[in-house]
Symmetry: C2
Subunit: 422 residues, 2 copies
């Protein structure tokens, strides 16, 4: 922005997909940057659905302090959603409705904060805006604990779940180590990552060397080899006295099924989801006879703002701020991505990248990040992962001992359109 | 101690049962207080087993900084054990062996850091010392996340797991709230507490009022009422949009069975332990059709020193220090207990209480702490619980983004006896 004049129109911000410990830091970056330029920010309630339903929130009703507090509040302050727009061909009315809502509220910039699906949606809207002769700039803003976005070096949200996982692995291992003589010998921690083992890999930062936990990491990138797994558990218990295993929820058996669904049945005979840890625990008990414990932190891992990585929180804020700068500078169909310029000391910057290179792509973990036996991470992986969990991001606690998380007023904007009949 | 002369003999410290985020703070309190009096502290490796096996550790080999670092390191620094000595009548040789080891190493004070079993053991050893004409002072030092020790107002270890549980409930609920429109509607957090619902109750501190999470707490003190539970889940989802449930692992069905064992079978047909959450989740899915997620933090909750309560960490240190003072003052068969002198502002002090009033007793949660429907906590419970999670207990983080936990040298003391043949 070289012009000092106030930009015309409003900016719409929406959160998409699974939320994270720092997605609201991105929202703070967006709102604070826009306010600084005199631009009004609306937020869509429950992500893109709020835009379709014309359920918009006027963030201008929030105090400066409330917006600043977003920087340390987990979850999605305006609501998010799991809702993927179909292709333009399959559901053109939805896209047209979005443009209609934008037009009614003079939305000239749309910032969509999500993963590769959301990047695709933002890209399509930018194209349709042109086709419908409506001037709209669409910016994708990166967010995902899965760390699977293309182009960007890492994804805001991942660093914090990585730190949570590494710290939890370390702490629980200290517990197991002190009890192993007479109690639990094998501890299994199940972490998120349906298709890629980035989070599981981060557990590897808890320790280094064969005897340090985690002793075994099970990645979705490697087919589960029961014999090799059991042999390594046994060898570890015999050598170290105990064994910490970190398993990705997406672990597959030789038939390509999720291990979590392959064995366990609940009381109703249904296969039980989200439980690879108990399956592995039963195996260890059955085949090796060791006492086990297992943990499955589920949402705790991605909402643990109390243990966020400073690197991650800073980057989350920075991509929000950059997204506004790009939008107001007239860029379209881009995403602010994180570029690593140095490993140690870690240095990074934000650059725009075309959404067309990000939409619908999935970044896999490089094969070079896994050790030959597939049960650990390499030095290359450590070099990549280590900076992402660095630094703490303190937050204010109340006298009641709880973090002081903000609940926004989320004041609705008056509707101008008829309800959307899909 | 009014005398300025150095006390004669050594002090033995042992950790017992499940470890906590702050049991090592107690160890720090013991060692620092003893060092200040010029008394040498040995620690038993793996709890009472180390005493039986004559596996003793000379804590004098550790630096001042290392002992200070214990104050912020979770787990059991010298190892703990699940091993209950039988009665004097059933296994007198074990007790005699302990006295033999004490005599060989001039152990004149024995500090046993554990729960009600350990209090019983310490009491029995004190009695046998008299019978065997060996001058030994036995002090029980309180520790248990279960908060079920008699006499003491609360137990070191509990406040921190309480804080972890309240904060995790709050954070995960922010996540669920933001996704509920299109995704998870019911989130179930399973917490420890086999026989008493203290930890589950602490989750109630996350929010207050019918619409604030947790909406439902399931206590082992109340038989699981499936119909009432499902009705409340449904009403909550319909009113609030989502529902957070916190369930104690010790939840019982009408037949008096653990719900966790009553339904689920693993791949081998064994009942699966430690999983009341998946059983409840299946029920919610089956009967109400809601999308669910569940979490089971297991050891993560009791080892999370990164989220410890300052109240708890301070009390853990204080009972260690007081135990040494009592021992050196010649007291025997007592435990330093926490006495609450005021609720708000919270004030507490440490006093000695006879082990005979603590050994083998279990403090239940008062019935007045549970709401009439049995799904929540009362104002009385809040008044009791609130101070225990107050204050944060910061710890040093390394440049690598991990807490700087200490690993002691744990230098072995040379043996003087033949191995113990049980």
């Amino acid at each position: 922005m070289t012009s000092a004049s106030k930009p015309q129109g409003r900016l719409l911000y929406a959160q998409s997909g699974g939320v994270t410990a720092v997605i609201n830091a991105t929202a703070a970056g967006v709102i604070e940057a826009a306010r600084a330029k005199g631009v009004q920010v609306y937020a869509a309630r429950n992500g893109i659905l709020g835009a379709l339903r014309e359920e918009l929130i006027d963030t201008g009703k929030e105090t400066k302090a409330a917006i600043a507090a977003l920087r340390h509040t987990p979850g999605g302050a305006f609501g998010s959603c799991r809702y993927k727009l179909k292709s333009l061909e399959a559901n053109r009315p939805e896209y047209e409705r979005l443009i209609e809502v934008f037009r009614a509220h003079d939305i000239r910039w749309f910032l969509y904060n999500g993963g590769n699906d959301s990047a695709d949606t933002a890209l399509k809207i930018s194209q349709l805006g042109k086709a419908m002769n409506y001037d709209i700039r669409c910016i994708g803003v990166p967010k995902t604990v899965d760390n699977d976005l293309a182009v960007t070096d890492c994804c805001p949200g991942f660093g914090s779940v990585a730190k949570y996982t590494a710290v939890s692995t370390l702490e629980a291992s200290l517990d197991v180590a002190s009890m192993a003589d007479t109690s639990t010998k094998v501890f299994i921690l199940e972490v998120m990552g349906r298709h890629a083992g980035w989070i599981a890999a981060a557990a590897g930062l808890a320790g280094e060397g064969a005897d340090a936990p985690p002793h075994i990491i099970l990645f979705p990138e490697r087919t589960f080899d029961e014999a090799a797994f059991l042999a390594k558990v046994k060898a570890t218990v015999e050598r170290v006295g105990w064994c910490t295993v970190v398993a990705s929820e997406g672990l597959l058996n030789a038939e390509g099924q999720f291990l979590a669904e392959a064995g366990t049945r609940d009381a109703f005979g249904h296969s039980q989801l989200g439980g690879v840890a108990p399956v592995l625990a039963s195996l260890v008990k059955e085949k090796l006879g060791y006492k086990y414990h297992w943990a499955l932190p589920d949402y705790l891992q991605r909402s643990a703002r109390h243990l966020a990585s400073k690197t991650d929180a800073d980057q989350a804020y920075a991509v929000g701020k950059a997204a506004v700068e790009y939008a107001l500078a007239g860029m379209n169909a881009v995403m602010p991505v994180i570029v690593r310029t140095n490993d140690a000391p870690y240095r990074w910057k934000i650059e725009p990248a075309p959404l067309s290179k990000i939409a619908n792509r999935e970044k896999k973990m490089p094969a070079s990040f896994l050790t030959r036996d597939g049960f650990g991470i390499t030095a290359a992986a450590r070099r990549y992962l280590a900076p992402l969990i660095q630094g703490e991001a303190p937050l204010p606690y109340g006298k009641n001992g709880l973090p002081q998380y903000i609940a926004l007023k989320n004041t609705a904007v008056a509707r101008k359109l008829e309800p959307f009949a899909r």
